[in-house]
Symmetry: C2
Subunit: 206 residues, 2 copies
DNA sequence: GACATAACCGGACTGGAGTCCATATTCTAG
DNA sequence: CTAGAATATGGACTCCAGTCCGGTTATGTC
């Protein structure tokens, strides 16, 4: 999952419309791979699908898969991309309290609730994107965006050490942790949301 | 990592001194395996050592290793066991504020600081024990103990939803997260400790 | 001390992750 | 339209985690 390939597959914004265009065969295979992965994940569950399975089912070589997505966590991240970007758009430019206009603490609470809902809606996929390789979670491009958002809002709210608190907050919202709360402990999403929002308020308080 | 083998290797308390005694050869091999693992981990780093390496170096079959420790995370946990139990003893029966006698919020702060120090001192080993298999962290016997401790102290301090807050607190103290703060962001242990203790206070407050 | 039984041993085996590179395809310039 | 450079392809390959089971060894009993 190097930066170059991340840019190539459109995960990182390119400042200037780069001279590097995706080749036609590459584009075709990317679509095929994502379609196959989505199909297999839906049919058998994320954990039970191997990269070989995806490659075979997509009619593509394994090397292609790895070059493009880096590993299984990259593949999962690519599948999440579209839905993620809806949340990202809402929080960067949508209506308050998620978007700009509301007080920072309120925006943070709204973000946490929305993010939790997102994670919950795609538990296994997010878990895969965060844990397929060691430290994957902290390296994801989207993670950086979530973190940056939290940092800024915490700072605006006047909280001490906003960077560390943003990390601590997101650490509690790991897919594995949420999955544990939801499946092993049988907690409802509403319950989790209100508890986490409460905690968030404490972290954001001056 | 089934319960029977966990008991056999002394990780879970046995109510009555069971009739099941560890066989002499089993005990010998357990010692050999742990010694070999410690040696190899120290020499090459945890990540670069395979279970095969440990088995060969210990003069033991791979099956033996897996039966006894379950997987690499179990092996790491077994190596951490002794040092962990020192912390556990201090927090259950040592002098305050870590041990009983101090106000719950103070005990919790002391625990968090001590636990953070423990994780920091064995970063890679703890990381391995938490992440070698998916969800390993939440299944560890010792994790349950840490969590229970936090739960009780949070409850005594009058915090709402102590169970969830205990999980959130420990999620922030994951070895991967601490490693990131320490190595990628170059934060000092003292800095982390004071920030985390501050957060802990906010979670424990009524 | 010999036997029955339960527990343990260890290495061959399976299957998947990730790498490598000779070949094929696409793009660009002339 | 063509040639050559740049890029992508894909399947064979390596390495390792984890399983399995026939053979071995310890332990309790007579």
């Amino acid at each position: 999952m190097d930066e170059a390939s991340a840019i190539r597959r459109g995960e990182l914004p390119l400042l200037s419309a780069g001279p590097v265009r995706e080749r036609a065969d590459a584009a075709r295979n990317r679509v095929r791979a994502l379609a196959a992965a989505e199909r297999l994940f839906a049919a058998r569950g994320v954990a039970a699908v191997s990269m070989d399975d995806v490659a075979t089912s997509a009619g593509v070589g394994k090397g292609t898969l790895y070059r493009r997505f880096g590993d299984k966590s990259g593949l999962a991240a690519a599948l999440l991309d579209e839905r993620e970007s809806r949340l990202q758009a809402a929080m960067l430019g949508g209506p308050p309290p998620l978007g700009p206009g509301a007080p920072p603490a309120d925006r943070l609470a709204a973000f946490v609730a929305a993010y939790l809902e997102f994670v919950d809606a795609h538990l296994d996929l997010v878990a895969m994107s965060q844990t397929a390789s060691p430290g994957a979670r902290l390296r994801t491009g989207s993670h950086r965006l979530w973190r940056q958002h939290c940092r800024i809002l915490l700072a605006e709210a006047g909280a001490a050490d906003p960077d560390l608190r943003a990390d601590a907050l997101l650490a509690a919202l790991t897919a594995e942790q949420v999955r544990h709360w939801r499946r092993d402990e049988g907690r409802s999403l509403a319950e989790l949301t209100s508890a986490i929002v409460e905690i968030t308020g404490r972290l954001a308080a001056r």
